[in-house]
């Protein structure tokens, strides 16, 4: 049984044929070629597969693709515009908040979504906001700092950062 799935991904309406038991993660990576979403644990614990669904973060590895009918999904590819990085991406680089980078798309989306929902989080709230993401390299301090810098408007709003 194949099934037609209609959803909005990164502001673009798409229709894709899927198996009813496909994971959102696989549809994004294999069918749509959006490789920025990573698979780490595959069981909802590491956050490498984080996407934003209807304005809230979710683990795409434990999300049924078929459930996404009509939903608005944002992946890491959404953030940079015309080759310009999003403030959160820029801040991660400036703060050395990544090493191998495998966890980074997930952390960046958690950070972005946190500030969308709570523009002025405390350090504690930032830690809570990224608590569903695991990094084996950096030790989190730089990641928290990266989110704080965006919160403190060290970067120009609207996604444009001039190099």
């Amino acid at each position: 049984m194949k099934l037609m799935l209609n959803m909005t991904i990164n502001n673009e309406k798409i229709s894709v044929e899927i198996e009813p038991d496909s994971r959102l993660l696989d549809v994004l990576r294999d069918d749509l070629g959006l490789l920025g979403t990573k698979e780490g644990c595959g069981v909802g614990e590491c956050g490498a597969c984080t996407v934003i669904i209807d304005g809230k973060t979710a683990n795409s590895c434990v999300t049924l693709a078929a459930s996404m009918e009509g939903c608005d999904i944002k992946t890491i590819e959404y953030l940079s515009k015309n080759g310009k990085l999003h403030p959160m991406q820029k801040s991660f680089i400036d703060n050395s908040a990544l090493q191998c980078g495998f966890c980074t798309p997930g952390f960046v989306l958690s950070g972005v979504n946190l500030l969308e929902r709570n523009p002025n989080p405390t350090e504690e709230e930032i830690k809570e906001g990224i608590s569903g993401n695991i990094c084996r390299c950096t030790g989190y301090e730089q990641i928290v700092k990266a989110v704080e810098d965006v919160r403190d408007e060290k970067y120009i709003k609207d996604g444009a950062c001039d190099e």
Binding site: M1, E45, I53, T63, S67, S131, G132
Partner: protein, 280 residues
């Protein structure tokens, strides 16, 4: 072949129910099971995520009705829940991670009957009962203590669907939730507790409710101990006695295990600390 349905109303959903039905709401548990080999290929998968009637919190006489597909995050934020049953939003705030809270639902957390459920102690504290509808449209209500039979097993029959959970308002009570997990974030509860207390003017106990979760195979309200406390004051001596009685009972029910040596004194200390904190 896997059959998949995505009903838009409860009525449509009931029509889809077959003997081999498997429900999916947030997916946070089912997709992990699928990865672990749970074979759905010959099943009927019913997707509950597109039924607006199954979402949200309604005020009912003396309490709230929480529809089954309401997410943990919605309960953290919901004004009525924060007002009438703060302990439930506190419990939901400790579930999984932000991502899991956004997707996971209250119905899922009851339906899977995981002993580590965080909302469960808070729901039982508020005399929670599951509201269940069957394929014929008949509705039954069952206290959560009865509904959860043992880990992973509930009384839900194949032709039934969880509609909601009804809870009493504990607005006038002092409420408290406490959890110990392995890691702060993502912690799956190893021990969790919920309590509520209502005092008379003279500081004696008018009503008290005590629930112990994750330490036990099935979350438990300590009705017998609660009853003994009505009319008493929470003196040091009484607190000492209750916390000992409860931890003894936990040991008796859960049976001695390797972890008991650690868990039992911790349970005793936490209960005594929670009671003391509610005293001030």
């Amino acid at each position: 072949m896997l059959n998949y349905f995505r009903p838009k109303t409860i009525k449509e959903c009931l029509e889809c129910i077959t003997d081999d039905r498997v429900y999916i709401a947030g997916g946070t548990d089912l997709l992990v099971e699928m990865r672990n080999g749970h074979d759905l290929s010959k099943k009927t998968l019913i997707d509950l995520s597109h039924i607006p009637e199954l979402k949200g919190v309604k005020k009912i006489d003396g309490g709230l009705e929480i529809m089954a597909c309401t997410s943990h995050d919605d309960l953290v934020l919901n004004k009525d829940v924060n007002k009438s049953l703060k302990v439930l939003s506190d419990a939901c705030r400790t579930v999984g991670s932000p991502q899991i809270r956004n997707m996971g639902t209250i119905g899922g957390s009851i339906g899977t009957a995981s002993p580590a459920s965080d909302p469960m102690p808070a729901l039982m504290l508020a005399d929670g009962s599951a509201v269940i509808i069957n394929k014929k449209g008949e509705i039954r209500e069952e206290k959560l203590e009865k509904f959860v039979v043992k880990p992973g097993i509930t009384t839900l029959k194949n032709d039934e669907l969880i509609l909601s959970v009804k809870v009493k308002s504990l607005e006038d009570y002092k409420q408290s939730f406490f959890k110990i997990g392995r890691r702060k974030a993502l912690a799956i509860a190893r021990l969790n507790f919920a309590m509520a207390i209502l005092k008379n003017k003279d500081n004696t106990i008018k009503d008290i409710k005590i629930v112990v979760g994750a330490a036990l195979p099935v979350t438990k309200r300590f009705y017998d101990i609660e009853k003994q406390l009505i009319g008493k004051k929470l003196t040091e001596k009484i607190i000492e006695k209750i916390s000992k009685d409860i931890s003894d009972q936990v040991l008796e029910i859960a049976g001695p295990r390797k972890s008991s040596e650690y868990k039992i004194p911790v349970i005793k200390n936490i209960i005594s600390r929670m009671l003391k904190d509610m005293e001030v």
